[in-house]
Amino acid sequence: MTKKFTIAFIAIFVLALLVALVGAAAPANPQEAARLNNIGVAYMNQQLFEKGLKAFEEAAAKDPNLKVTALNRGVALLNLQRVEEAKALLEKASKDDPNDPHAFYSLGLYYKNSSDPEAAVADFRRVTEIDPNDADTWYFLGSTYAQLKQFPEAISAFEHALKIDPLHASAQFGLARAYQQSGQADPAHEAMKKFQYITQNKLGSPISLAYGEQGKYSRAEESPVAAEKVLPQIPVKFVDVTKGAGLTSRPSVRPTKDGASFAGPGACFLDYDNDGNIDLFLPDDGTQGSMSLYHNLGNGKFEDVTKNRPCRKSRQSHPPSPQ
């Protein structure tokens, strides 16, 4: 008995040793790293920055070559106010991949909020070179210029943001403030009126300073490794609820074999009455004779309000102009 136990014990020990050795010498595991990284991103979205950081660190241990984890560690550290470590990681990430806007963007935000707005300008400018079409970048560039009291540059950057996104509330506000602070009261007044029009009619909301809401490049990034290989298999099922939702009043021209009623040229979801529930607009596809407007009742059902609303091809339905 004792001998058998000893052998078994030795065998287990050797096995364990082997496992440990194999583990230590394990090659990079990109899929596991990507999975851990994406878990970190999910933690970040819940503002659990410590847990996010830990997941990113584990991801980096699984695959030191996964560039995105270095960036994400920087973002997590920045949100944990561990700015020196964050800065070092982000600066390295920006050098490793000078064509990725994320690190420059986070550095820009960091420098803007510390005592080095000039450095922030350089970083935001770099982002605009990589992606000239991100309104938030132009907004923060303008905001940094305003901080530096370089109001003409600020105005130009805010206007650039507004060319990309005319309903960018923060850029519109920044523009008004920049005019005001440079002593141009009339354009300031005009710009402020537009800002109020945008926000009061809920056409756009100002940027929030909470994590993830300072522009798309401010967030931790998911791993580029294909998602299906990485994400756990969560059963997602789509169920046709068209009928139950009351979306059947429109004459169906090309009913599909499973009974769905719509085969129009597209659909637009919008909250036309600002009640917080997204309504559905269906344009005329040429066969209907009318467009359709469905009001979302908020309980999973829609009501056809086409006839109640001035929903015709007319310019009568303008919202009031800014006063």
Partner: protein
């Protein structure tokens, strides 16, 4: 206060849908065309001082240790509890309340008044006495004298503010409340007479902030009252019932979003014991019915007339500039203080004015809702205010938390204003929500680094070791008369905290107790400027922080200066007085027109500190 970025997604499958886009675009033609075209003729720039950017040097090494604070409330006898429901199913159950420091019997020691709060159930049964009053007997020992003091009116107390409205030499107490306010006239020796009805200041609705200020400078101090949302106690919106009653996915109390707001009130003191409500005439009635909370007067434009700041929750703030003719103009939007630099109308709660950068101008610090930075609006003079929340490093540590009571104060007497903030969520339900700060939250202490930035020193001050609580009001004053500023805190549903400042830095300091003669007797609105190496100033305020009352005496830290080269007093009446070569380390009583009438030494630290 949550920021929902509205995105309208247009699925343009076929040309027809472009028509829909066109509708949207046409709808905003004016907006769009004006956006891309030049902004019209640009007038000559207004005369502004040339722009000067101060290069921020690395912060100087501060040699003074961070003072530590000790909560001595229980030993001091502050054992009565604030009253609140556990679940807070209604917004009216989350906003109380304030706390105050004032000397109700002129014995030279600060007494403490705490708002009691209530709950919907209790209010329907008549409510609770609005406040608890503790008399400071001696050596940081307090006795509850509420009943003897005649402060037994029941209701639902929210905030406190103190002034001497009848100029009789005794400090009077105003208490805001849901369903009506109370004015208690001090007959002397901490015995009060309820003069609410006679004075005509009962108000009504959901009154929150209160601040005394003599806006017409007639020697009778007037009263502003902010109001929050319209709440009908018999038709309360049901917990978790609509989208306005959810936060971060969890069902919570409804409001303030989606609720009707209330206007604000300004009571002009007629000088005969009665008041006239003049908010509309004066232009401070808030017809937009923003959700008013913290209020405070301060002469931000240095013209000698008190101006008024109103912090509004989830709506833009008001900054009413005094037109010097009994009316005001709301300058908040133009001055850049209505919203933060992103244009977000933050959930603003507590307020404090202070010249933290020795610019000679009052800047404004506002505590804000969760996921929003507490905001410092730096006063740039003619250029208006600049949101420096993040640049000052006050915003970052506060981002997850919901801030309430706050005041600029010099915790180590080095001549530079520091900042304290207490926190606590409005929703107990946040304890189980991922991605939200919990209901009970830490306090934040920010040390002024003298270069426009602050360092968060809660750990060093040991306030980080104190239990987490949901706090509201905070009042600041030298309770021990030892030259250090202490803090009392309202803890929701619990007895208050008394944070005793054990500052050991050997810096000099001074307290000024001002008594008006031609001006209102409590000298509300008087400004004292002290030259001692650096130049500092502050003003006497009847109401500030979050619905709270700070010590009316003005405290200045003087660093290594053992005397002040000069002290200037600008009385609300317009009279100014200058005193030369004033020794530090005393409590001075200055009477308008008569100079220093009394001086007392500071106490040593009580040896038997509880």
């Amino acid at each position: 206060m949550t920021n929902v970025r509205v995105t309208i997604t247009l699925h343009a499958g076929r040309p027809d849908c472009h028509f829909v886009i066109a509708i949207l675009l046409i709808a905003f033609t004016g907006l769009l065309s004006a956006q891309t075209e030049p902004q019209g003729p640009i007038g000559p720039p207004a005369k502004l001082a040339p722009v000067r950017i101060e290069k921020k040097s690395s912060p100087p090494k501060l040699t003074d240790p961070v003072p530590t604070f000790r909560d001595i409330a229980a030993q001091a006898g502050l054992t009565a509890s604030h009253i609140s429901s556990a679940e807070k199913h209604y917004v009216v159950e989350s906003m109380s309340g304030g706390i105050g420091l004032f000397d109700c019997d002129n014995d030279g020691k600060l007494d403490i008044v705490m708002v009691n709060g209530s709950s919907v159930d209790r209010y329907k049964q008549g409510g609770d006495p609005l406040v608890t009053l503790w008399h400071h007997d001696a050596d940081l020992k307090f006795t509850d004298i509420t009943q003897k003091a005649g402060l037994m009116r029941k209701g639902w107390g929210m905030g406190v503010a103190v002034a001497d409205f009848d100029n009789d030499g005794n400090l009077d107490l105003f208490v805001t409340g849901y369903g009506g306010n109370a004015l208690y006239r001090n007959k002397g020796n901490c015995v009060f007479e309820d003069v609410t009805e006679k004075a005509g200041v009962r108000g009504g609705g959901f009154s929150t902030g209160a601040a005394w200020g003599d806006y017409d400078r007639d020697g009778n101090v007037d009263l502003f009252v902010s109001r929050y949302v319209h709440v009908d106690i018999n038709h309360l919106p049901e917990f978790g019932s609509t989208k306005f009653c959810h936060f971060k996915g969890a069902p919570v109390q409804c409001g303030p979003w989606g609720m009707e707001g209330e206007t604000d009130l300004l009571y002009h003191n007629r000088g005969d014991g009665t008041f006239e409500e003049v908010s509309k005439k004066a232009g401070v009635d808030d017809p937009d019915q923003y959700y008013g909370l913290g209020v405070t007067w301060g002469d931000y434009d240095n013209d000698g007339w008190p101006d008024l700041f109103v912090a509004d929750d989830a709506t833009p703030n008001h900054l009413y500039r005094n037109n010097r003719n009994g009316t005001f103009t709301d300058e908040a939007m133009v001055a850049g203080i209505a919203m933060n630099s992103e244009g977000q109308a933050l959930g603003s709660m507590g307020v404090t004015w202070g010249d933290y950068d020795h610019s000679g101008r009052l800047s404004m610090f506002v505590t804000e809702f969760a996921d929003q930075p507490n905001t410092l609006y730096r006063n740039q003079g003619a250029r208006g205010f600049e949101d420096v929340a993040m640049q000052s490093h006050l915003g970052q540590p506060s981002l997850p938390y919901l801030g309430w009571g706050t005041t600029f104060f010099d915790m180590e007497n080095d001549g530079w204003l520091d900042l304290f903030v207490c926190g606590g969520h409005v929703y107990p339900q946040m304890d189980t929500v991922k991605g939200s700060a919990a209901y009970a939250q830490p306090m934040l202490l920010h040390r002024n680094l003298r270069n426009g930035t602050f360092e968060e020193v809660s750990k060093a001050s040991e306030i980080a070791d104190m239990p987490l609580k949901s706090r509201r009001g905070a009042a600041f004053g030298d309770i021990a008369n030892n030259g250090n500023v202490d803090i009392v805190l309202l803890n929701v549903g619990e007895p208050p905290s008394l944070l005793f400042n054990t500052n050991s830095a050997k810096n000099h300091r001074v307290l000024f107790h001002l008594i008006g003669t031609k001006s209102n007797r409590a000298a509300i609105g008087a400004r004292v400027t002290v030259h001692a190496g650096v130049t500092q100033f502050d003003e006497v305020r009847g109401g500030a922080s979050y619905l709270s009352q700070n010590d009316l005496r003005l405290h200045f830290g003087l660093g290594s200066a053992s005397k002040m080269e000069s002290v200037e007093v600008r009385w609300p009446s317009g009279r100014t007085e200058a005193l030369k070569d004033v020794a530090a380390d005393k409590i001075y009583t200055i009477v308008e027109g008569q100079g220093i009438q009394d001086s007392a030494p500071f106490n040593d630290l009580p040896a038997h500190l509880p």
